[in-house]
Symmetry: C2
Subunit: 228 residues, 2 copies
């Protein structure tokens, strides 16, 4: 989902800066900076061109490192993919937590919290799309063999975190506004993930990044009518 770390995360929220955020001014001499640079380059290339079309040689060249250094940090291209997904999914979950905290700080009303949550992403949509052209998950999931090799586990963990958190918020809002409703709140929670991923593909196919914001606006309006 929304997780391009180096350029995006800190501009959006500095609250969960970690060793891999790529934004710390303190650069330790233990290879962390090199590892980070390799991951940043690989993430950009894999999102842009796909995993199979990205070679280790290309990552090494574009990250200005060496074969020796690359293989010091990663056992293989597959190991690189796992590390990429791990850090992307961690940032994805951090974004979720951050947006929930902001929605809860904005209002005590469950339905208004749901709307405030979507608005966080809607307001930041243009910034998101200027930082990342698509979602790493799309590239990773496109290759079944890669997904089967353990990378999809971390994606599913992130999806589950979003589902669990949002389903709880949606249930509280629906119980209040539409008692006796027949909405599957897990599926409705998943619809937020679905909207992000589908919108990334719409932006990519049309070359118009404005679709991300437009889709989040539509999602908010649909939820507003549901929770009116």
């Amino acid at each position: 989902m929304a997780s391009s770390l180096t350029r995006y995360q800190t501009s959006w929220s500095g609250s969960y800066q970690t060793a891999w955020s790529g934004t710390s001014e303190f650069v330790p001499r233990d290879g962390t900076a090199t590892r980070q640079r390799i991951l940043d380059t690989a993430e950009r290339l894999v999102i842009e061109n796909g995993y199979a079309a990205t070679t280790v040689d290309q990552v090494i060249a574009e990250s200005r490192t060496s074969k020796g250094s690359f293989f010091h940090h990663f056992d293989s291209k597959l190991d690189l993919a796992r590390s990429l997904v791990a850090r992307y999914a961690a940032a994805d979950i951090a974004h979720l937590d951050d947006a929930v905290a902001r929605a809860r700080a904005a209002t005590d009303d469950p339905a208004e919290q749901v709307i405030a949550f979507v608005r966080v992403f809607e307001d930041d949509a243009d910034e998101l799309m200027s930082a990342q052209s698509s979602c790493l998950y799309v590239s990773i999931l496109t290759e079944r063999q890669l997904a089967d090799a353990g990378t999809s586990k971390q994606i599913v963990e992130a999806i589950t975190a979003w589902r669990t958190t949002l389903s709880t918020m949606l249930r509280a809002a629906l119980d209040q506004r539409r008692p006796g409703h027949d909405i599957d709140t897990d599926a409705l929670a998943d619809h937020v993930f679905v909207t992000f991923e589908g919108a990334f593909l719409l932006c990519r196919s049309t070359g118009d990044n404005g679709h991300m914001r437009a889709q989040l606006t539509v999602l908010r309006q649909l939820l507003e009518s549901l929770l009116a």
Copy 2:
């Protein structure tokens, strides 16, 4: 979107069977059957593993054809990709037209037509997911260079066809049920594409094809509350 031709199209609707549908019992001796078999095999492999990870040799072997025959039909792997997308997008637009015709046959009420349209896909979701594991568009769009090489033009044409047709239906429904609304009907129409593509990714990541139907149900319920 929903366009796996050989197994899905005819079971869903036999009304637009064409030379490439793979279902005609009449097999001409001009190479159409071979071309069709190559496209069917390539579509399956590209959806399953991605475009870059699919080799021409693999397509030749799995479609039980020869190098000579392959290059008689396709100039290159890129030419194959263009042909794949062309037939997939054509079927996608045919599905749109078929569902619109069914929705219009079901009711004269604009809002009910919108709901009937989504129900066509909702009812057929399990069949769709048993026929195709994901969407060809996802595989094609994952590789920017491939998309730039002309394949995305046909995807955009299909997206535009869906947007134009659905936006007209949605405008009529909203004008009747919510005069003075502030909904961008083009974006709301795109949300159907977005739901399909995002749901394909959700199914792929979780390994649970039931998400396609669940997401279409959620989309219908959201539209029902908007058009109530």
